[in-house]
């Protein structure tokens, strides 16, 4: 965790200008589906050291204003990288967050960056780091993908299509992968 800040502190850079993503928004679903299936995803401009693996956005009950995106970011390069910003057209604000369990009290805080060490990987997962999607513009539907643009400290950007997944489906996937490891 790098420089935790108060959740209440607004980050003026985290709001995504909708016009910037208009073109992306109306991509054909076939392309997004194909992109979602092609994992690990990597659409980095000029930098192939970072790969985003298994991204997803949690499907939330109808009318719920917030959700979160999770993924694993692998850094195959020789220098440490920091995820410094995430944008998405689906939410009015997008922030990088951490969760800490302080003697049973679950505390969520905005962080200024998420570090991915050289030759290492950082997991954004339930109960830990996440890309928080705040004030959703429309309900997230199962089967859709959410466009995310990740910006790293070296200026490189990664475009990710994260499928929307139901909590139940997530749970089954987690159990299956936990089982698979043994």
């Amino acid at each position: 965790m790098i420089g935790p800040t108060c959740h209440g502190c607004p980050d003026p850079t985290s709001t995504c200008p909708p016009e910037k993503f208009k073109a992306m928004k109306f991509r054909s679903s076939a392309i997004t589906l194909a992109a979602a299936l092609a994992m690990p995803l990597s659409t980095l401009a000029g930098e192939a050291d970072l790969t985003v693996v298994a991204p997803y956005v949690r499907m939330v009950p109808p009318g719920t204003p917030n959700s979160a995106a999770f993924m694993t970011i692998a850094n195959n390069g020789t220098s440490d990288r920091r995820l410094v910003k995430a944008d998405s057209p689906v939410a009015r604000a997008v922030e990088l967050h951490s969760h800490t369990n302080e003697q049973g009290l679950m505390r969520m805080r905005q962080v200024s960056a998420i570090e991915i060490k050289a030759k290492s990987r950082t997991e954004l997962k339930s109960g830990g780091y996440h890309v928080m999607l705040i004030d959703l513009r429309q309900p997230l539907k199962e089967g859709e993908t959410v466009a995310l643009t990740l910006t790293f400290d070296d200026g490189s950007m990664s475009r990710v299509d994260a499928p929307v997944r139901k909590p139940q489906a997530l749970l089954e996937a987690e159990q299956a992968s936990a089982h698979g490891r043994h």
């Binding site: 939330v60 009950p61 009318g63 049973g104 969520m108 339930s126």
Partner: protein, 212 residues
Amino acid sequence: MPTKTLLMALIAALSAILILLAVFWEPVPPRPIARIAPHERLPAATAPPAGGEFTLQGAQGNVRLSDFRGKVVLIYFGYTYCPDVCPTSLSLLAQALSELAPNERERVQGIFISVDPERDTAARLQEYTPFFHPQIVGLSGTAAQIARVAEQYGARYHKQAPDAEGRYAVDHSSATYVVDPQGRLTGALPHASTPTQIVAAVREQLASAASR
């Protein structure tokens, strides 16, 4: 002779330890409620939460804990603006409910109590909890009512300062409280308990209710 002095000192030290042990040693008694929130790390002097009856607001009016007498009740405190911890916990609870046999499931009720009654109305909660499982009811109330019930059960929460748009998060504990069919708080399952652990806790309560 230095060796002899050393030996005497050693004997004295060992005797002192033995005496101290004899005076202060108490075998650790078996914990009567082993599952009371091990993650909460309550100070030793604090009595375990008492639990007990409460009345809160459901979408169709007042809901009391005693409305569910005869059922094992699983209580979780959270809020609908929560992006991760609450949906995860409710999914685990929902998964546990669906793993129970139908005759067991009909004797179980889930309750989600909002620690953010400002934004979570009973109507809003009615939209929220059935998404996870139809047997989880969402309850709200006045800030004072919620605070009282949270204290009864040992749940903690703390609203964070809102940002410029008035958005805020609420820090909160994430235990699932287990209430037996007589309405008594029997323990708390810590955050991230698996469906298997939740199912086991429910079956334990159903079995002990049946043996009485």
